[in-house]
């Protein structure tokens, strides 16, 4: 009996390690208005952005934890990270640019260079020119995982595709191995 319990206890770290290093499941932020992750228009009306509309359900996603360890993020990936302004909140964002790229902000056409070791993230929804869409640069080390698939709700199940922001990102000319310092 004790031997079996010890056996089970000894196996728990394996699951913890798989969860931390390979793949895990997480709940994507349901409180902010999110687009259909396929890039289609929002189902709910624009005016209801302050409170979740009825019928907005939690979204479960599959997180790929191998990509951050090998630093093989690509522009257009959806990433999962702790919010830099509030360490208790986890958010999903779209990775728009890597270090050394020049990004044109959506809101005011200002051009910024992404600093060394950082990346530029924006909300997942595609451009509508809203002021609140402005992205920011965060350290690449802050990205915890890549969102690879949506598991729930059933209407959205499937792989998450990369979507770049054409016309707004000037990439580094030497083709960049994203893991180069």
């Amino acid at each position: 009996m004790l031997r079996r319990a010890a056996n089970v206890a000894f196996t728990v770290p394996v699951f913890i390690t798989i969860n931390d290093c390979i793949v895990s499941v997480a709940r994507a932020d349901a409180s902010e208005p999110r687009e259909n992750i396929w890039g289609g228009p929002r189902e709910t009306g624009e005016a209801s952005s302050s409170s979740p509309s009825p019928g907005t359900s939690a979204r479960l996603v599959l997180l790929d934890r191998v990509t951050p360890r090998t630093f093989s993020f690509a522009r257009g990936d959806v990433v999962y990270l702790r919010s830099p302004s509030n360490q208790d909140r986890w958010v999903t964002r779209r990775l728009v640019a890597l270090e050394g790229d020049w990004v044109t902000r959506a809101a005011d056409d200002d051009v910024t260079k992404v600093p060394r070791g950082h990346c530029w993230i924006e909300r997942v929804e595609a451009g509508t020119g809203d002021r609140d869409e402005d992205g920011r640069a965060v350290p690449l080390a802050l990205l915890d995982a890549r969102v690879s698939h949506v598991l729930w709700p059933p209407s959205e199940v499937g792989a998450v595709r990369r979507k770049t922001r054409p016309g707004r990102v000037l990439m580094r000319t030497t083709e960049v191995d994203p893991s180069a310092p």
Partner: protein, 191 residues
């Protein structure tokens, strides 16, 4: 068996491969479980690591000290001003930095500027961030260069030095290094 088919290189390799596979099957699961257990201890408990570079003189050697780092303080948000922490570098995701926390989110602090002429500047640490600075203010790349660091980049708190043996001992919190500035009068110091 493979040996009875007569001499031949393929026979030797086949029996070797069979033996290797049976060793893996016997010891493999235990090795995997042990490896994962070590990984969990490192991620949620404690890790032995090294602090290199001149930025934390005189607290740490520039040739490299071996230190013990614990993760619990970071996980429960128990990192205080004056603690030495190890964090992932904002300037290079593959590197880590070993610095002291001089300000937590919301703190209004006064920090020495880099450079030879002394002087200081006042900084307000934004929400969700920490101000990290090396003890050796003249030779340290820290928040004065790359800005306040998001809390999630912290890896752990350094609590003991184990090598070199002559300098082994606890790494203490040095709260006096964090100078808080009163906001209302702009000149008073509140610690």
């Amino acid at each position: 068996g493979a040996e009875s088919r007569g001499a031949g290189m393929s026979g030797v390799f086949a029996s070797f491969a069979k033996q290797l596979w049976s060793e893996v099957k016997t010891h493999g699961p235990t090795a995997i479980r042990l490896g994962c257990l070590v990984n969990v201890i490192h991620t949620y408990g404690m890790e032995v690591t090294m602090c290199l570079g001149p930025s934390m003189l005189p607290t740490f050697n520039h040739r490299g000290d071996v230190v013990l780092m614990e993760r619990v303080s970071v996980l429960v948000d128990g990192v205080e001003n004056g603690d030495v922490v190890i964090a992932r570098s904002p300037a290079n995701p593959k590197h880590t930095v070993c610095k002291r926390v001089l300000g937590r989110q919301g703190d209004h602090i006064e920090v020495p500027t880099a450079g030879n002429f002394g002087g200081s500047m006042r900084v307000r640490v934004p929400k969700g961030h920490l101000w990290l600075q090396g003890d050796n203010k003249d030779n340290s790349t820290d928040s004065r260069d790359y800005g306040p660091v998001p809390y999630a980049l912290l890896k752990g708190k350094v609590f003991a030095k184990v090598w070199p043996p002559a300098e082994a001992g606890w790494v203490r919190n040095e709260r006096w290094r964090s100078v808080r500035v009163g906001e209302a009068d702009g000149g008073g110091r509140a610690v």
